[in-house]
Amino acid sequence: MKNKILVIEGDEAIHELIKIFLSQLDVEIYSVFNGEDGISKYQEFMKKGEKIDLVITSYNLPDLNGVEVTRRILDINERAIILAFTASLDSELSEEFRKAGAKMVLSKVDGFSELKEKVEKILN
């Protein structure tokens, strides 16, 4: 059974790149473009009794910020695994994500290859 990854990201091009890079892994990717949709999607999977193996979220979303999204998903499922994929190099923001419960914080500057490696590591 393929691992399910929920990507919450406001930028369409980044969604496309994530899909391209992660397509080499045996995963199913679900893309949403804002925070509320992402939370609803996660809840929807939970209700169906299906498991989202990894949530990748950006910080700057059209409605909420990624820290808030992280907190609310963990309220739904405290065992949820969340990877923050953010453009910011701000250590304070990394700390905010970690405090909210994110398992890993990765900068977009590190590139999509790095993202692929981290995802692979988390899923394994």
């Binding site: 091009a13 980044i14 790149l17 910011s88 701000d90 500057v109 999509f112 290859s113």
Partner: protein
């Protein structure tokens, strides 16, 4: 050091010092006062004792006057009749009038009659040679110049001092011519001193002036120790020279009373001082110290919490209340400043995050597509990369032209 302890030390110290000063001054004033009263009382007693002796001299002299200015005596000195002797100069007469010796001298200075009686047991005794020699040596005792002339006072004899009175022998009408002198002697013996003591209710001793060292003053007082004091009164002899000293011994009741008074006074000062100190400490604590301590605790709590939005409770309308209000004003200023700093930091953070979002997002998109294009050789990814670069260009343009970060 804690302010409470400081207050206690300052108030306690001040009360102790004040207590010592008050007690010291009071001790000087009180004891001095009691000593003065004591001295005055002893002086008064000594005068009383001296006066009682002078009273005795006066009594002997008065008796002598009764006898010397009397027709019977006036006749007797001339005819020396036995009847006079048998009627008047019997032993009981001496005892009754309290005279030890009576000497009748005629105008030539010859002793016409003389008799001495021990008035204690009423028996006749011999007239001492020393007494007769003394009178002979002091002729003025016999040579009265006029009818009013008289001599009385103290004489010092070897055995004991004595009261002497010498008066001219006159008629009952106090007229002359003077037929001689009548001398009466009263020895100042133990009985006489005992009589003086009982009369004055004082412990009296009579000493010879030349046998001991005494102060020069007519009346003087000298404490012996803490319990006894003596007073001295000097009595001159018939020559006007100091002859006898009346010594009055007394217990120092007034001085002891003064010490007792001072003791209770000291106790009162200590008790009042303690009460005052306790009251002052309580009042100071209630009105100042506890409020300062509370103020300090509140400031400390705010300092420890770092929460400058907290405020201190303001009580009263005095300097401490003004201080609390001042601290609250300061906290308000700090809170505002802190908020401004927070706002500025938030703005800066948001700016940095927006900058990162609008620049790094397209950059990493461009890089991502370029990498794929490089790997797969597909030109469509280069176009996507160029689009991402265009986005960056737009952001830069907005910053330069509009002064805002956006892709719109």
């Amino acid at each position: 050091m804690r302010i409470r302890l400081k207050t206690l030390i300052i108030v306690g110290g001040a009360v102790i010092v004040l207590g010592f000063i008050i007690y010291g001054v009071s001790q000087t004033v009180l004891i001095k006062g009691f000593l003065e009263i004591e001295e005055q009382m002893i002086e008064k007693d000594v005068r009383r004792a001296v006066n009682s002796l002078y009273d005795d001299i006066y009594v002997i002299d008065s008796t002598n006057y009764d006898w010397s200015a009397w027709d019977d005596t006036y006749e007797f000195i001339q005819d020396r009749n036995e009847e006079y002797i048998e009627s008047n100069l019997i032993n009981d007469t001496f005892v009754t009038i309290g005279v030890n010796v009576m000497l009748y001298f005629n105008s030539s200075g010859d002793l016409v009659f003389g008799k001495a009686v021990d008035i204690e047991n009423g028996t006749e005794v011999e007239i001492t040679e020393e007494l007769l020699d003394y009178i002979e040596e002091n002729e003025f005792l016999l040579n009265h110049q006029n009818v009013e002339d008289n001599i009385s006072g103290i004489i010092l004899l070897t055995e004991m001092p004595a009261i002497i009175s010498s008066r001219p022998i006159l008629t009952s009408e106090d007229e002359g011519p003077i037929r001689g002198a009548l001398i009466m002697i009263r020895y100042i013996d133990e009985e006489e001193i005992e009589k003086l003591s009982q009369l004055t209710q004082l412990s009296i001793e009579i000493l010879r002036y030349n046998e001991t060292e005494f102060p020069e003053e007519e009346i003087s007082v000298e404490p012996i120790n803490e319990d006894y004091i003596v007073g001295y009164g000097i009595i001159p002899d018939i020559h006007g020279k100091p002859s006898l000293v009346i010594k009055v011994n007394e217990k120092r009741d007034i001085y002891q009373q003064g010490k007792t008074t001072l003791y209770y006074y000291g106790l009162s000062i200590i008790s009042l001082g303690l009460l005052m100190a306790i009251a002052m400490v309580i009042l100071l604590d209630k009105s100042i110290v506890s409020r300062l301590v509370k103020l300090n605790d509140n400031v400390k709590k705010i300092e420890e919490s770092g929460d400058v939005s907290k405020r201190i409770e303001v009580q009263g309308n005095d300097e401490i209340a003004y201080l609390a209000k001042g601290i609250n004003d300061m906290l308000e200023s700090l809170e505002k400043s802190e908020q401004k700093i927070k706002d500025a930091l938030n703005e800066e953070r948001e700016f940095k995050r927006k900058t990162a979002h609008y620049f790094f997002n397209p950059i990493c998109i461009a890089k991502g597509f370029l990498k794929i294009a490089q790997e797969e050789g597909d030109l469509k990814y280069i176009e996507k990369a160029i689009k991402a670069v265009d986005r960056i260009e737009k952001v830069v343009k907005n910053i330069v032209t509009k002064g805002e970060i956006s892709e719109e």
